[in-house]
Symmetry: C2
Subunit: 350 residues, 2 copies
Amino acid sequence: MGRPTIADIARQAGVSKGAVSFALNGRPGVSQATRERILLVAREMNWRPHSAARALGGARSEAVGLVIARPARTIGVEPFFAQLLSGLQAGLSARAVALQLLVVEDTAAEIEVYRRWTSEHRVDGFIVVDLKVRDERIEILERLGVPAVVLGGPGRHGSLPSVWADDREAMLSIVHYLAALGHRRIAHLAGLPGFRHTQRRIRALRDSARSLGLVEAVSIPTDFSDAEGAAATRRQLARPERPTAIVYDSDVMAVAGLGVATEMGVAVPGELSIVSFDDSVLARIVHPALTALSRDTFALGEQVARQLLTAIDAPGTVRDLQTPTPLLTVRESTGRPAGEGALGNPDKPL
Amino acid sequence: MGRPTIADIARQAGVSKGAVSFALNGRPGVSQATRERILLVAREMNWRPHSAARALGGARSEAVGLVIARPARTIGVEPFFAQLLSGLQAGLSARAVALQLLVVEDTAAEIEVYRRWTSEHRVDGFIVVDLKVRDERIEILERLGVPAVVLGGPGRHGSLPSVWADDREAMLSIVHYLAALGHRRIAHLAGLPGFRHTQRRIRALRDSARSLGLVEAVSIPTDFSDAEGAAATRRQLARPERPTAIVYDSDVMAVAGLGVATEMGVAVPGELSIVSFDDSVLARIVHPALTALSRDTFALGEQVARQLLTAIDAPGTVRDLQTPTPLLTVRESTGRPAGEGALGNPDKPL
DNA sequence: CAGTCGAGCTAAACCGCTCTAGTGCCCGGG
DNA sequence: CCCGGGCACTAGAGCGGTTTAGCTCGACTG
C-alpha cells in the first residue's frame, strides 16, 4: 500500500472520513476518546496530509513567494540578499512556512509569475523587493487580491503594507558625520536610479549639501556591481579636485572602491574617507575596516516574514512598519580630510 | 465568478471537461478545429491550471526542495551559497520549476522536512548539500524513493546521483604551487570536520606533504566563520616558527585572515602567502587580491539543477557527474617566502 | 412523559483536473 | 449490406482531503 489516506485511517479506526478529519485538525465534532484513538491510528500508520488535496479544498499552501527580477548571477554577489533570505527563512520557519524562490529576467516575467502562482494557489502571499519609482507591480498585486508585503518605502505602495527603514535619515547621518569631520567634497556612488531608495538617498544628500556648506555633493548612479563601483571610483579619484569622501550604496562597491584607492596610492582614511551604506562581514574584514551603516538585514527579513504571515492571517489589519533607522558604525575608513583642523566632534554622528 | 475552471471553458465551448483537458494539454483526442476553439476560449477567460488539482491527480508539483541545516544567520555570510542558489535558479527557471527553500536547525529537522515534503507531494525532488562523512540522509531519501541529487563526492552516496568536483586534485594543485614557490611550512584553515570535502582536502594535504618535502603541513578545522578564521590565523602567526603560507577553505576566512595579518604587521605576500579555496568577488576586491581556486559555483548550481530535472524525468538513468577541477587563479597574495632563492616556476601551478 | 436540544458521528457533496471506459458516427472492405 | 475499426468526443470515476446536512441517541426540560 502506498501512503495512507484518511480513508485508511477511518477504516482502521472504525469511523468515518469526516470524523478523522475533525480529529486530525483539532476541530469539535468528535469525543475526546475517539479523537485519541484516531490520532493513535494516524501516528501508527505514519499518516501525513497531502498538501495538494488540502489546497484543493481552498486551504493555505503554507508557502510564500519571493520573485526577484535581476540577472541570476548578480544575486550571489549581494550579501544583502543572502542576509535578507536568511532572515526571511528564520521568520517563516517558525511557522513552517516555506519560501518559493524564483529569479527572473525582468519585471514582465515577475508579474507573470505573480499571476500564475496566485491562480495556481501555489503560495499564500508575496514579498516584493526592489521597489521602483513608479511600480506597476503594486497595482497588479492589489488587483490579484493576494497578500503581499513591500520591502521599502515609505510612500506610494497602495494598500500593501510595507516594511521600511528611513533611508533619508540614514543618508543625513552619514553626511552630517562627514561634514563634522571637515569634508566639503563628497561623492555618492549610488545604486540603480530606478529604485526608490536610490532616489531618496540622492535627494537627501542634495538637500543637506547647502545647509552643511558642502562645496560639492554629487551622486553617480551605478548598477551596484563591483566593476562599476571600481570604475566610478577611479574616475572620481582621477579628477583634479577630487572628493575627500565617498559614500557607497553597497558594501561590494565600497570594498571595490577601497581597492581602487589603494591601487592608486590614495591613502584611506588619510586622503579619502569611505563610508558604506550597507554593513556586512565584508565591511568588517577588510583593512582598513569600513565605516558603515549597520542595518540588521537579517532582522529586517524576519520582520518582513512576520508582517506577511500576519497579512495572510488577517488581511487588511496590517499596516506599514518602520524599522529602526540604521546607525553609523564608525570604523577605520573615515577621518579628517587632509589639511583640516579640528572641527566638531567626529565621534558623535548627527 | 471566481477563477474559471475547465468546466466553465467546457460549457462556453460546448464540449465536455475531458475534451478541454485534452486540448489544453496537447493530447490526442480532439480535432484540430475543436482544439483551437477551446484554446481560444481558455485564453479569453484567462484560464490557468490549479496546481493543487493537478498535483492531486499525481502530477508534478513543478518545484524542487533545498533544505539547509545551518544556523540561518550564517547562510547570508557565505558567498558560496548565494552563488549556488543563483545557479540553481538559472538551471531551474529554464523549465519554470520553482525552488522551495528552507533553512532548519539540524539534520534531524532536515530529514523531517524531507519526509513531509515528499509525502505532501510538495516537491518533485531534492538537492542535498553539505555531504557529511557518514550521512544518514542518503539512505532516508533512497527509502523515500524521491529523486535527489547530491552535491559533493565522489564516494558513498548510495544510488543517488551526485555532482562533484575533485577536491583532492584541487588541494594538490595549491600545495604543489606553494611548494614550487619554496614554501615548506603550510597551514590549512579547514572547514567543519564533519563535512566530507573537508576530510578530502585535509587528507590531500597530508598525503602530499612528504613527497613535496614540507616541514610542516597542519590542518586546523574551523566552523567556516570569519571569527574562527581570524582567531586561528592569529594563533598561527603568533607561533615562533610560523607558517609561510596559509590555505583557507573559504574566502570569508581568507579575507579575515588577510585582515589579521595586516593588523599584526605581517606583509602579504612578502612574509605570508594566502590562498583561498573559494573564489568570489570577495577574493578579487580586497588588496592584495587573493590567489584563489576558481570554481564556477554558479555553473555548478546550474549543473545540479539540470541533473535533478533529468533525475525527475527519468529516475535511474542519471549518474554521477564530475565538474571540471577548479583551477588556481594566481593573484597578488602569494609569492616566494621571505629569504628564498628562485625555485621552480611560480607562475605555473602544478 | 412527550418534546427539545446538543453532542457525536456518518454520508456525501465538493474542490479542479486527469484519465479511462465507453458511445456514436463515418468510412472502407468483404 | 453488414461489419470492423478508428476517430472525436462524452460521462463519470477517481485523487485526498474538508465541510455541510442530517441522523441517532441520551439527557434535560416543562
